[in-house]
Symmetry: C2
Amino acid sequence: MPAAGQYSGETDMNDFIIKGDIIYSESLTELKLCPDSYLVCTDGICRGVFERIPEEYAGLETVDDSGSLVVPGLSDLHLHAPQYSFRGMGMDLELLDWLNTYAFPEESSFKDREYAGKAYSIFAGDLEKSPTTRACIFATIHPEATMMLMEMLEKTGLRGFVGKVNMDRNSPDYYVEKSAEDSLSATVRWLRDSREQFRNFQPVITPRFTISCSDDLMNMLGLAAREFNVRVQSHLSENRSETALVKELCPWAGHYIDTYKRPGLIGGSMPSVMAHCVYSDEYELQVMRDNGVFLAHCPQCNMNLASGLAPVRRWLDMGLNVGLGTDVAGGATLSIFRTMMEAMQTSRMVWRYIDSSLKPLTMEEVFFLGTKGGGAFFGKTGSFESGYSADLLVLDESGMRHPQPLSLRQRLERFISLSSSTDIKHKYVQGRQLF
Amino acid sequence: MPAAGQYSGETDMNDFIIKGDIIYSESLTELKLCPDSYLVCTDGICRGVFERIPEEYAGLETVDDSGSLVVPGLSDLHLHAPQYSFRGMGMDLELLDWLNTYAFPEESSFKDREYAGKAYSIFAGDLEKSPTTRACIFATIHPEATMMLMEMLEKTGLRGFVGKVNMDRNSPDYYVEKSAEDSLSATVRWLRDSREQFRNFQPVITPRFTISCSDDLMNMLGLAAREFNVRVQSHLSENRSETALVKELCPWAGHYIDTYKRPGLIGGSMPSVMAHCVYSDEYELQVMRDNGVFLAHCPQCNMNLASGLAPVRRWLDMGLNVGLGTDVAGGATLSIFRTMMEAMQTSRMVWRYIDSSLKPLTMEEVFFLGTKGGGAFFGKTGSFESGYSADLLVLDESGMRHPQPLSLRQRLERFISLSSSTDIKHKYVQGRQLF
């Protein structure tokens, strides 16, 4: 592969120029607005955005999306594929009761190959059409169904991570792994098989959360994460009853985060991602900062399950890695654009009711979180700066008529608030066009 | 018109039977679920929902919507038609700054006939396609543009109220009426003209809010409301800075509500509707209950503009009249289904952060608020009980695939969470099919 700026002159399916109204984040507060500009992609990598096509790229095919907004693909740092089937239902309970009443019974049905196939094909099809290009996904405890999900996702051309879930305690009889050893050995087999079989989607070690995993299992998973050099995803400090139960279960842990830290589930050579962190205190946030953990902010789920309002401004002020998650099906929709809007709303309620020193998030900031912020978990993704993966969306604004002229910034702002998860005209991942 | 139960036997465009999966509210907590049933409508009025077609209606045409959900049309108790053009934008300010920065400049441009025509035709077209059948709408201070809006809405077949806005103080030079007298005389002319000209949409007296209206103007509008026997709509206790400014402007008023009560803008023979009421205290709520005021709960706007979380459970416990409002463009979308979801979310945050004795709202309750609760402002609308107006929606669930069987209740629940404002297959208002 030629290095950036040394384009070889040959074109293939990953080499092209997109012309359109291009927007991307350079930093948390800096939005680049490039009307009627050219985004050059070669070998699946962005080479920059230009007002005119640079001479060295003059031979490339230009795809004309003039008049359309072109933005980086969005990253969803936290969602549960098997829960997609009951999205938008069962919002009348708090987390622990919700898991027992809705999530566990539904997830247990994925031991049935046929049902899993039917449900996951709907999920994979809808995720393909959504604004998400990179995702970090929970499956169930079933290795077979998890492989099936990975196979379906692999074919979409999207990229990301999928985790077979680990659960060996405090789980219903019909949905639990027999022992820590059983859980580990199933996980190791699945890790090996899936690493070999898939390229776009890679395995991520996925202890459901501390409540569902014995100390023994956590220790084994920490060793596996190091041995296989894979990432880890889990839940942290989402809900008051959850944090109280963790205290009971792990009296040795000063803080919830210690139950991941001690077994080495954070702080390895690969980044970990923790969802929610609504109730993470200063210590927990510092530990996450020092260990390069990504925080997946899931504002809709936190409202739906009455968990609370996460103080994202504080995380940003501390310099933490932050991205967004739809958290399907604690959240109902697959659109990270909608999550951006909900992140703004949540930050306003944090400012109003929790701490008025925590300034509400701006549109620029939530757009950064949904693109470059969360995208960093997957490598150089979520921006159009030179060297970033050519993950991009051409947006469909046709359903959002307006009588007045709008700036590029205004068009992006209203797209965040008004779009549904199917308002995407074209989608490319690492230079490959999905549709 | 024959009385209920005494159907004459003749059929016309308003006489038909719809077959489908029918759902409606009988009360705040009772949802009627009628799979594969028949809703009989004659003379634009519902005659009941039946498992089999009653003999007396055997001659009526049956429209077969088997397999589709059929629900009452939704009522939007509060929205601003001229703000629709900037929906989803400018969410970075609190109410008073937001008005001066975004709302007033945009509204002022409706003095231009051509611009108003262009903008209102987009609004009326989108409202027609939305789940709303009845609406209570703010226009601008311009009588001519307001008449134009009413004419466009009249043609859609929707029903409701439109208000020419009154503003004679604390408003920018470019968007204010010259004096209380000028404001009144323009309003009276518009009241006469519009009452004569339109049938589906009727005028409603619309002092913007106390900050924008002098005591003199409020007194005159109170007299006009009585003389013309029309309804009143306004804003109340939405935002902390707003309530503080009202205290300054009206030192004579013990409570914000008194600035509407003393001039007779609530408590007349027609009900008034007050939007927001986030900060209404016990006294204010009691005054509204004693005067039959409707409270328009606008949860999305209250989050977008950082106003706060309205304690709707308290209102319901006190027996107040409550409905929902999208509050476009403090709110971004026209869908009261989405407002239902946001009302649930807001109630969870109220329970979590403000008062844990205020139980979160259920799906049944928010569905009631968006149908029969708010619908009562418009007469007997928002239910399928015998005698109610035949306002109904046939829902389009095709974009919400699922692998498992779902109950009617679950299908309604997910439609509330997942639908966009265009997922409506057919819509009828007072028995007339709009599409």
